[in-house]
Amino acid sequence: MKILRGAIIALMVLAIVGPLVWVAMNSVKTNTELFGSPWSPPKVLAWDNFSRGWNEIGARSFVNSLIATVATLVFLLPIGAMAAYIFAKFPFPGRGTVYALFLGGMMFPNFLVAIPLVLLYRDLGLLNTMHGLVLAYVAYSLSFTIFVLTGFFQAIPEELREAAEIDGGSPSRTFWTVMFPLVRPGLVVVGIFNAIGLWNEYPLAMVLLSGENSTLPLGIASMAMAQNYRADWTGLFAATLIAMVPVLIVYLKFREQLQEAMVAGAVKG
């Protein structure tokens, strides 16, 4: 029984880590070596795969992805926290309905609204702009962010808020000086989770951006689809690795927070 258990686990770990190691191995092979011996470790290290892969996806799309992710978080976290604070601490008539409306966004695929969104963006001149993309990212990340942060605000004792307000703070001063810093663990949880999702985002960027403005997923996707007529497989292996490594580092560093965000979003939802 113990042996069986160990064997299944080993097989699972191999099924996940194996392909990644294989990608890393092939990312430093020459194209001839890849086709000749796809299994053995590389004989000579062809580092120029990385410069080709990097040029193909473009430093621009890497920077764009970074901007989109960071800028979205900068707006999303305060805006989401403000709304979550109200839902957690200030009962008002119709609160349940408004809250449910906000959470509805978690349930349906964003792509269902893509067409009117593109038409709206065309009319507003936001198509193919980074600030347009960031606005959409903030809007579509709000549901999950508000949901998780509401839970974190509810966990803060009511007396703390009352004490702060008695000390002469206005409600909004109390929020920014006391509550917002207090909810930091929650901000880290949703921040990390959203950062990964935004860094990886493909469908919205695909319909809202075009041409010279692209993000990393768009860049490697178009490189992959170009393989049919212009095969540079090892360059693509290298580009894939470039896209993979940042999230893997974040994963290894923040695994606990990520799990917390995923379980919170799933089990209570």
């Binding site: 160990g6 299944i8 686990i9 699972m12 770990v13 099924a15 996940i16 880590v17 392909p19 990608v23 796809p38 805006i79 989401g80 403000m82 709304a83 109200i86 200030f90 008002f92 906000f102 349930m107 349906f108 695929p109 269902l112 609204v113 893509a114 067409i115 009117p116 593109v118 038409l119 709206l120 606005l135 959409a136 809007a139 709000l142 508000i146 206005s170 409600p171 909004s172 990964i196 860094w199 493909y202 469908p203 997923p217 490697i220 996707a221 992959a224 689809m225 693509l236 292996f237 894939t240 896209a243 993979m244 999230v247 994963y251 695994r255 799990q259 379980v263 799933a266 089990v267 939802g269």
Partner: protein
């Protein structure tokens, strides 16, 4: 409510509400409106056609194909994700070295972009250097001549395999949380009564996971309806629409063919379908098995 808090409440909700209503709720309403119109190309001219788009959809062979693909994927990946998720949740509890290794790796696919997952599986299925061909040949099976992704019989199963590889960690995590919710007394009582192994799982653990099962099934429905990047990059829905998903078809009609009205109709139909399926799931798993047990 004190009077001075009302402006505060409104002020704090306003930024989120404006963005959410403007860019999520309003476009959603527009999708419903647009489904009653036809648009011509990139021009802004629209013609009201009533339910014509829906009649066209009802007769659309290609859409029917995407529905049956979606249903296939729902059933197959649902079985694998739920059975696999429960099994992995059992394997990943405890402080043993192997359990910790499993916990550390199982969520890796979840943090990768679906674009990267798609490319990774294109590598794995590649007929010239991919390992899938090699493994299958070891089992003395001849891989499809036009490649796994190029054969109408294997394209959808191949995409589904990539989808399962990507999603499995999430379901394992879900069921791990579910196992933790089972009260310690029940496990102790089962231990005392000598209920072990498969019997204990079937009679005690599995029924007690009912609420997690409901969440898991709901998520399978949502995730399968959401499949876009995997199909778009691995097969673009081909060959002959054999792997077309609901969203790749919507994308094709809306953005490749610029038929915004018809694409909105597809979106509305998909939305309705998602609602019906979710309600069905809620109804199917509507109550705890502990209630009303003789």
């Amino acid at each position: 409510m004190r009077r001075r808090t009302l402006p505060f409440i409104l002020g704090f909700l306003a930024p989120a509400a404006m963005l959410y209503v403007g860019l999520v709720v309003w476009p959603l309403i527009q999708t419903f409106r647009l489904s009653l119109f036809t648009t011509s190309g990139l021009s802004t001219k629209v013609n009201y056609v009533g339910a014509k788009n829906f009649e066209r959809l009802a007769a659309d062979e290609a859409y029917r194909q995407t529905l049956s693909n979606g249903l296939w994927m729902l059933v197959v990946s649902g079985i694998f994700l739920i059975a696999g998720g429960v099994a992995l949740a059992h394997l990943s509890v405890g402080n043993h070295r192997s359990a910790r290794a499993l916990r550390a790796t199982i969520l890796i696919p979840q943090v990768m972009s679906l674009v990267v997952v798609a490319i990774l599986w294109m590598f794995l299925f590649n007929p010239s250097f991919g390992p899938v061909d090699a493994i299958v040949r070891l089992m003395r099976i001849e891989p499809p001549r036009s490649g796994w992704l190029g054969d109408p019989g294997t394209a959808l199963p191949s995409v589904t395999a990539a989808f399962i590889w990507y999603a499995l960690g999430f379901y394992a995590l879900l069921f791990t949380a579910g196992l933790r919710q089972i009260p310690e007394e029940i496990n102790e009582a089962a231990e005392l009564d000598g209920a072990r192994g498969w019997f204990r799982f079937r009679k005690i653990t599995w029924p007690l996971l009912w609420s997690v099962k409901r969440i898991a099934v709901t998520y399978v429905v949502i995730n399968v309806m959401n499949v876009f990047a995997l199909v778009q990059i691995m097969t673009t829905g081909g060959p002959d629409r054999s792997s077309e998903s609901l969203l790749t078809y919507l994308y094709e009609q809306g953005f490749r063919n610029s038929q915004f009205g018809y694409a909105a109709t597809i979106a509305v139909a998909n939305f309705m379908l998602a609602m019906i399926l979710s309600l069905g799931v809620l109804f199917w798993f509507r109550r705890s098995p502990e209630v009303g047990r003789r």
